[in-house]
Subunit: 343 residues, 2 copies
């Protein structure tokens, strides 16, 4: 990373563990990155005592933005939008909107974060809806970007087309993949397969020279390096990943059950369980590295609600990376370019 | 099972291995079930020599229905429908349609089987589209029925409603679950979540007293006994299961890779791999026990294309069970009843 000074706003109160996780991660980030300033949004009386361990120089790169409210993890997005105007989540987004922060990170309520981000930051020109994107592991230890993971459950072909463009930019800028291979998630690889929306999107993409569109992939291909970016609507993306998560839990339960049989099965479980947990946690998108909300006029990274300090630190780094690569500007430029190119 | 005489037609030529798998399974079924007659549709010159090991009494319960054509595993459904009128798959379906067989089983091309079944058998009154249904394992070693697994990728709320009714009948009749709990697959459990089609279906189901509708479940709940029947459209159902399959392969690859490290990791892999393969094969719906095509005026069971003899035998048993429980009649009665009940 370069050393241009960056300012990131954090929702200190968000997540299942709130300041217990977000504050230690913040301190680690401040110590690791001398070019980073953090704006800590949350209850000053909770935050202030935790900053004592910082040196004077470090302390100068931390600012507390005191807020009285916080958004509950189970709060309805509509309620959060209406009643939590003074919350740490809302304040963090406003700092980005006002240009006081380059990006923001929250481990809070995903639905509320989506609604508030959309409301406060607005979408980029040419983009109708933001999307939730994350990278997943593949069999050859590469990354594949999957979007949308649940921001939008009713997508038309224009929205999916925009998602394809945004996903390509994210893969190119954040992972450095040149001309990323973009695929649409479908029930078969043949052209005639799929529902009407997917077919219409395929038509749009195949007419767009600026996108390296490679066609359809099936659910099992997500993890096989068949594509760098896999595009689907938020309904399918969410259910696909949650199904994987559910089956993962079933597998872990079975391994535990079998482990009690004898010494060999105990050895098996001792080695297999951490391995399985590691893989499954990487598929749980926000547990691994934070999913990003893209398509907005600002950078918003979502860390897992149940994130530990490591994961929240990773999400801060993800936000820094997106600032340095100017992802929103690149998305804006790309969507303008492809719309111009289109016949 | 009772001992009323049953006649099942089989697509001997279908599947990746064709007669190599379907014939041994047929012979086993004939030996195991004295009340079973099999109509073997396929190339007589291939089938006939394999029947020599049967006793005279057994041989009397086997009839060869000679066909010249077979449907290719990669053949387009439209092509199969138009050009394969004399195929083993088509003949098998006609035998059911003409009342000469009580049910049929194929391991052939799923898309072609769907198209031909719909064309030859037609749907039951009150049912617009057939669905592909299968049972999956759950954490507490019970079964959950998931539909649609890919018969229909464009579903409206009426179709999903009919699927819910059909799924309930299947769970009740085939697995003996009284008043099965029916849920809609969604991105959240709250009433406000979901796309428009799911919300409209929820409304229809909540107004139908004859169905034990319990609300929404998420992808991870498929495997947790949260419901007995999980309803979704064929696009989502197919992608959810294929994603699980893809991740399963990734997990197995990782276990294999790690296994080479030392003696303990070798022990781990030796025990973990068969366990993982067993679980994943049960989630691959047709690999486990055959998926059923329901909603038709006849019983069609789909065995996995890559099925081994055990799996094909299991699919024959599934067909026998559906005949004995008169699943199509029960679906017809149930859909009539719920449509009458609806306000």
């Amino acid at each position: 990373m370069t050393s241009r000074h960056l300012t990131i706003a954090l929702d200190i109160m968000g997540g299942d563990h709130g300041p217990l996780v977000t504050l230690p991660a913040s301190l680690r980030a401040i110590r690791q990155y001398p070019h980073l300033t953090l704006l800590l949004c949350g209850d000053e009386s909770v935050i202030l005592p935790q900053l004592e361990s910082l040196t004077d120089a470090e302390r100068q790169r931390v600012e507390i933005i005191h807020t009285e409210q916080s958004v509950g993890m189970d709060e309805l997005p509509t309620s959060a939008l209406r009643n939590k105007k003074h919350s740490s989540m809302r304040r963090m987004l406003e700092l980005v909107e006002q240009g006081q922060a380059d990006a923001c990170v929250s481990a809070g309520n995903t639905g509320a974060l989506l609604a508030m981000s959309y409301y406060v930051l607005k979408t980029l020109p040419g983009i109708d809806r933001p999307a939730l994107i994350s990278s997943l592991p593949t069999a050859s230890h590469k990354k594949v970007y999957l979007l949308d993971l649940g921001a939008n459950v009713n997508c038309d072909s224009q929205t999916l087309f925009q998602y394809a463009v945004m996903g390509a930019v994210q893969a190119e800028q954040v992972s450095g993949i040149t001309a990323p291979r973009v695929a649409l998630l479908n029930v078969g690889e043949e052209q005639i397969k799929g529902n009407d929306v997917v077919k219409a999107t395929a038509h749009l993409l195949s007419e767009t020279p600026g996108i390296n569109y490679i066609g359809y992939v099936e659910g099992n291909d997500i993890f096989t390096d068949a594509a760098d970016v896999v595009v689907t609507d938020g309904f399918v993306g969410n259910i696909a990943l949650k199904s994987c998560e559910g089956l993962g839990k079933l597998v872990i339960n079975e391994v535990k059950r079998v482990s009690e049989q004898n010494i060999f099965t105990r050895i098996m479980a001792k080695i297999a369980l951490p391995l399985l947990r590691k893989i499954y946690s990487r598929v749980n998108p926000d547990q691994y590295n934070g999913a990003s909300l893209i398509g907005l006029r600002g950078i918003v990274v979502k860390s897992h609600g149940n994130a530990k300090s490591d994961a929240f630190l990773y999400a801060i780094r993800e936000a820094m990376q997106e600032v340095e690569r100017q992802v929103p500007t690149k998305i804006k430029d790309k969507i303008e370019a492809v719309l111009m190119e289109r016949p």
